[in-house]
C-alpha cells in the first residue's frame, strides 16, 4: 500500500474489529478509509465496482470471508472481470485480486466450506492461486496484486493459524515464487503426490510418515491451479510412474481429475499403477463433526492411497500415527467460531 497509491482494499469486514481474521487489522488507520474500503453486503456489485476501478487504473484487492458468499458475484467475475481484456480487443485490463477464504471443519457445513477452485480454473481470463504454506502467501499475494489480470486468491481458513519460522537470511536468499509455478516440497522416486491448498498440509503429514519408513514419495505443492505448472508434474510422474492426485473439492469435475487427465494424455509410457484421485464424496459437506474422519480427505487416507499405488500393505501403526484427534480443526487450540 505504501508503494502503490492506486492499490485499494475493499470488503465486508476489512475495517471491523476483527479485520478479516486479523489480516487487515490496522490498515485503514494507516492508509485511510478511502483506500481501505468497508463495503455493504453486496458481493456482486462490489466485484463489479472493483472491475470499474480496475479498468480505470486502480488495483483493487477484494476480500470475502467465505468463498460461498462470493457465488453471488459470479456474473461480475465470469462475464466482466475474466472477459474484459479479451472481449474489448485488449484495450483495457482488469488488475483485480479477489481473496476467497474457504472454511474446512468446525461445522462450516454445506454452504461455508466449499472448494470451488475447479470452477474458477475453467474460466479463460482468470488466474487461480492456492497457497498452502504461510511462507508463500507474501510472494503470491504480491504477485497477484501486481498481475494485470484478475486473480482469484484462495486461502484456507486454517492457513491463518499456520506458524512458520522465518530467519532473516532465509528470507533474503529465497527466490520469489511466481504465479503458475509449482514446487517439489519433498523429493522422491516412487510415487508423485500432487496437491494444492490445505491438501498439501495433509499430504505433507502422510508423505513425511511414509518416507520416515524408508519409502521415497515426492510431493508437489501446486500453489497455482491456473496457470498450471504442467511440466513440473509431468517431469515428476515420468520419473516415479505413479500418481496420487489429492483435491479438496468434490470428485466429479474436480481439479484433481484435470491432473490425472494431463498425465494420462501426455505421458506415452504406461504408469506402473492406475492413478488415484482423492477428493470429497459427491454429496454436500454435512455440518456434523461426527463422521468427518470418513468424509474428509485426511493424511491417513492419503497414506493409504500412496501405499495402494505401490501395492504395499498398510503399516500397523499408520492409522495411529496419522490420526488427527479432530479432523474438523487444524489443531487442538482452534475453538472456532468460524
Amino acid at each position: 500500500m505504501e508503494n502503490n497509491k492506486n492499490f485499494l482494499v475493499a470488503g465486508l469486514g476489512v475495517n471491523d474489529p476483527k479485520g478479516v481474521f486479523g489480516t487487515t487489522l490496522g490498515l485503514s488507520g494507516k492508509y485511510g478509509e478511502s483506500r481501505v474500503i468497508e463495503t455493504p453486503t453486496s458481493e456482486n456489485a462490489i466485484t463489479g465496482i472493483g472491475v470499474g476501478l480496475a479498468i480505470s487504473g486502480f488495483s483493487p484487492l477484494l476480500i470475502h470471508q467465505r468463498m460461498d458468499f462470493f457465488l453471488l458475484a459470479l456474473d461480475q467475475l465470469v462475464n466482466s472481470a475474466a472477459k474484459w481484456h479479451y472481449m474489448f480487443g485488449e484495450q483495457s485490463s482488469v488488475p483485480i485480486t479477489i481473496r476467497l477464504i474457504t472454511g474446512r471443519g468446525w461445522g462450516q457445513g454445506p454452504t461455508h466450506s466449499q472448494n470451488l477452485h475447479a470452477w474458477f480454473a475453467h474460466i479463460p481470463g482468470l488466474k487461480v492461486v492456492m497457497p498452502a504454506l504461510a511462507s508463500d502467501v507474501g510472494d503470491l499475494l504480491q504477485a497477484a496484486i501486481d498481475d494485470p489480470n484478475p486473480v482469484v486468491f484462495i486461502e484456507d481458513r486454517w492457513l491463518h493459524g499456520q506458524r512458520i519460522e522465518l530467519s532473516t537470511n532465509a528470507k533474503l536468499d529465497r527466490k520469489k515464487i511466481a504465479i503458475g509455478q509449482a514446487e517439489v516440497l519433498i523429493a522422491g522416486t516412487a510415487v508423485t503426490v500432487v496437491a494444492a491448498g490445505y491438501m498439501v498440509i495433509e499430504s505433507l503429514k502422510a508423505v513425511n510418515f511414509l518416507n520416515s519408513r524408508g519409502l521415497s514419495i515426492e510431493l508437489i505443492d501446486l500453489k497455482s491451479v491456473k496457470p498450471l505448472d504442467e511440466n513440473l508434474i509431468l517431469r515428476s510422474v515420468r520419473k516415479t510412474g505413479r500418481l496420487v492426485s489429492v483435491d479438496s473439492g468434490h470428485v466429479s469435475g474436480s481439479f484433481g481429475n484435470q491432473i490425472i487427465q494431463i498425465v494420462a494424455t501426455t505421458i506415452s509410457n504406461p504408469l506402473l499403477s492406475p492413478p488415484i484421485l482423492l477428493g470429497l464424496p459427491d454429496v454436500p459437506t454435512p455440518t456434523s463433526h461426527g463422521p468427518m474422519h470418513e468424509y474428509q480427505v485426511t493424511s491417513y487416507k492419503i497414506g493409504l492411497a500412496i501405499l495402494n499405488s505401490l501395492g504395499l500393505k498398510e503399516y500397523e501403526d499408520m492409522r495411529e500415527c496419522l490420526r488427527d484427534k479432530f479432523v474438523d480443526a487444524p489443531d487442538e487450540n482452534f475453538l472456532g467460531p468460524f
Binding site: 456489485a45 466485484t47 465496482i49 480487443g89
Partner: protein, 322 residues
C-alpha cells in the same frame, strides 16, 4: 448553464436513426452475424446526452448500446466493422454489437448481461471521485435492469459514497417480449423506488427533450461538483423487435394500436416540423444533413465489408494482459 441546441439535437438523433435503420436494412444479407438490439424509436436520450457530456466524462451501457456509443462520439466505422466481426471493429471483432468500446471518446464499454454494467459504472465513478477529476460516470440501462439485484447493490453503494454518477434508465416498458405490467407491480413508480434507495431521482416526460436535457444537465453539474449521484427515468419506446431488424407487431405482445400511437409521437418527426416552422433549419438544410449522413453511413458499411476478419492466430491471443 448550457442550453439545448435544437438543430444539433435533430442532426444527432437523425444520424442515430439512419444508422440503426441502415443496420436493419443490411442485416438480412447475413453478413452481420451477431445479435443486434436496435434503438430505433429510442434516440432522444442519446441525442440529448451528446450535448450534455464532455469528452472527458465516461459512459457505460447495456446490450442496446449503439445509440449511447454514438451519442458519446464513438467511431462509426469501427462500430459497423464490429457488427461485421471484422478485426478493424472497435473490439477487434471479439465483442460484437453488445460489446462496444471507444476509450478515446470515454465510452468504456457495454455489456450483454442485464444490469451487469451498472456496478462497473459505479466503480468508474469511484475512480473519478478518488482522483477528484470532476468527471461524471454515465450509466445507461433499461427497465429490465430494475429487476436485477446488481441495480440495488450498485445504487446503494453510489448513495453511501456520494459518487459522481448519473444512472439513466430508459424505460421502453418491455423486457424482450414481456411488458412491464407482468414484471413489476401495477402503479410502481420506478423513480420513487430509486429515491428510496437514497439516490435523488427524476422522471422526464415522454418525448420531452427540453425536460430530459434540463434533468440530465442538472444531474451532471451536481455530480461534477461532488454532490453525488442522480437517477433519471426516461420514458421511451422501441419501434422494432427486441433483437433483430424487424417490425414485430404481428407477435401480438404489444397492445393493438400502441406502436402506431407511439410512432405518431415520434420526437424526430415533431422536432423536424418545429425546426422548419421556427425556421431554425430550412427544408434544404435538412435534406443536405440527411444526405451527408447517408454518405457517412455508406462509407462505414463499405469500410466494414472491405475489412478483414481476425485470423485464428489473432483470436487465440489476448486472453490475458501482459
Amino acid at each position: 448553464m448550457k442550453t439545448l441546441d435544437l438543430a444539433r439535437l435533430f442532426v444527432t438523433a437523425v444520424r442515430i436513426r439512419l444508422i440503426e435503420t441502415a443496420i436493419a436494412i443490411e442485416y438480412p444479407q447475413g453478413e452481420m452475424r451477431c445479435p443486434v438490439h436496435l434503438s430505433v424509436g429510442q434516440e432522444l436520450l442519446s441525442a440529448v446526452f451528446e450535448q450534455v457530456q464532455t469528452r472527458e466524462d465516461t459512459a457505460i451501457s447495456s446490450h442496446r448500446a449503439h445509440a449511447h456509443y454514438l451519442g458519446k462520439g464513438g467511431d462509426l466505422n469501427r462500430m459497423i466493422a464490429e457488427l461485421y466481426g471484422k478485426v478493424t471493429g472497435c473490439s477487434k471483432g471479439r465483442g460484437g454489437s453488445m460489446h462496444l468500446i471507444d476509450l478515446e471518446k470515454g465510452f468504456i464499454g457495454s455489456s450483454a448481461i442485464v444490469g451487469n454494467s451498472i456496478p462497473i459504472g459505479v466503480g468508474v465513478a469511484m475512480s473519478h471521485k478518488l482522483r477528484g477529476n470532476g468527471k461524471v460516470s454515465y450509466i445507461f440501462f433499461g427497465d429490465g435492469a430494475i429487476e436485477e439485484g446488481a441495480f440495488y447493490e450498485a445504487m446503494n453503494f453510489a448513495a453511501v459514497h456520494e459518487l459522481p454518477c448519473v444512472f439513466v434508465c430508459e424505460n421502453n416498458r418491455y423486457s424482450v417480449y414481456t411488458g412491464l405490467d407482468k414484471r413489476q407491480p401495477t402503479g410502481r413508480n420506478i423513480a420513487a423506488l430509486a429515491e428510496a434507495i437514497g439516490v435523488k431521482s427524476e422522471v422526464a416526460g415522454l418525448g420531452d427533450y427540453l425536460e430530459t436535457f434540463r434533468i440530465l444537465e442538472s444531474s451532471t453539474q451536481k455530480a461534477r461538483m461532488g454532490f453525488g449521484p442522480t437517477f433519471i427515468e426516461v420514458p421511451t419506446y422501441r419501434f422494432l423487435e427486441h433483437c433483430g431488424p424487424n417490425d414485430d407487431n404481428h407477435l401480438g405482445y404489444r397492445p393493438i394500436g400502441e406502436l402506431d400511437f407511439q410512432k405518431d409521437l415520434d420526437f424526430i418527426t415533431n422536432l423536424e416540423s418545429r425546426l422548419l416552422l421556427e425556421k431554425i433549419m430550412s427544408l434544404n438544410e435538412v435534406k443536405i444533413v440527411k444526405s451527408e449522413i447517408e454518405n457517412e453511413i455508406a462509407q462505414a458499411f463499405n469500410f466494414a465489408k472491405k475489412s478483414p476478419f481476425p485470423t485464428f492466430e489473432e483470436i487465440i491471443t489476448g486472453t490475458y494482459a501482459i
